[in-house]
């Protein structure tokens, strides 16, 4: 599981972290039943506040991607596996956007428009 966050980005850190973990779960590099690192540990690794990590975990819990339980930490649910079709579709979108030489921002704008 590779997580990256950019301190200089305008996207909130907890959003970046949640997106990074979501991507890892979809790619299968973190599997259902696996425990995410302890919030304190991850905060130390990424040099961010522990509450930022907890907030990211809460976002993922609200989405149903992780289970938060006292004493057990954040455990990945099997929901990520069901994202596989979505991720295949996203791959297709990305490939198509590359051949059309669309910028990432344009593609994101198109997706936002379509989701509205």
């Amino acid at each position: 599981m590779l997580l990256r966050i950019d301190q200089s980005s305008t996207t909130p850190l907890f959003d970046q972290l949640a997106a990074s973990i979501r991507a890892a779960a979809i790619a299968g590099s973190v599997k259902a039943g696996e425990r995410l690192p302890a919030a304190r540990d991850l905060a130390e690794s990424l040099d961010i506040n522990v509450h930022t990590v907890l907030r990211a975990y809460q976002v993922l819990r609200d989405e149903g991607l992780v289970d938060l339980r006292r004493g057990r930490g954040a455990v990945v649910t099997d929901r990520a596996a069901r994202y596989s079709q979505l991720s295949a579709a996203i791959d297709a979108v990305v490939a198509e956007a590359r051949t059309l030489e669309l910028s990432p921002d344009t593609v994101a704008a198109l997706l936002r428009e379509a989701l509205r």
Partner: protein, 333 residues
Amino acid sequence: MTTEARPMPGRTRYRMIGLVLPLLIALVGAVMAASWLPDLPDPVAVHWSSEGADGFGSAWTMILLPLGVVTGFTVVTQLSLLNAPGRGGLTSTEKILVVSRLFMSVLLTVGVLGSLAVQRGLNDAADAPNIAAPMIIGAVGGFLLAGAAWLALPKAVPTVTEAETAVEPLDLAPSESVYWSRTVRISGGVATVMGLVVALAVGSSILASIGSSSGLPVVLTSAGFVMVLSLGMSFWRVRADRRGFAVRGLLGWPRVSIPATEIAEVRVVQVNPTADFGGWGWRWASGNRTGIILRSGEAIEVARRNGKRLVVTVDDAETAARVLQTLASRSPV
């Protein structure tokens, strides 16, 4: 397996020293022992304690024991050498395996011959004298022969496939932080073998303690320790971040961490557990290597500035190597 038919260097020498010689010694020993059969008491003494012979059995068991054990050991160890021809020779770990066949063959053959020799002409095996001398001669002789065989065999080939492609650093902006982690667990096959070994150890130590009930707490404590240790060693979390590289077992121990500032070089390597590390688990190998080896195949090798190397079999080792490479070049030296 390998398509090109390149013969392994020194193959004839290997066959003579590693296969023919240990089996020949055991065979000659068995023939010699069998020729003594008319002079031997029936049953013969097969086990000794400090007070003298205390276990008795059929002479044939003793006669065939070295041959059987050496044949079995040779066949089993041969299986782990299957990759050697493709690699161009034996690694040092494999050489140890091969010469230990000779050690075992001499030790058992001399030991059995010696313990039968002292019983020739006896009517009752209970009168058999002590056999410490042949056992010591067998051990020393076996050790010397194994040492000679080590020198006679071709030089060991380097362990762990060298010269993998250099890892590309990540395109990481200075404002970006990165975290990589992965869990590693032992494969089903290894877990089964480990479970059997633990069960065997626990079972045999309980059997052994039946005679003296005072030993039971000690046995249970050590059995418990073995179980906890195997459990703790069967699941690991591997982590790479700005602090460096860290590996910790399920129970938080054992753990190893290498600070980013101490990392000299990171590579992705292919590991063959028996050839490179002599097995699975927490291992030491030549070339200043420590290994946490839970399967064969892809592994990350982290070299410290002091020359020590840590090898961990983990999926997606390439990403880990890229992360560490990037962070190591970022941290001030």
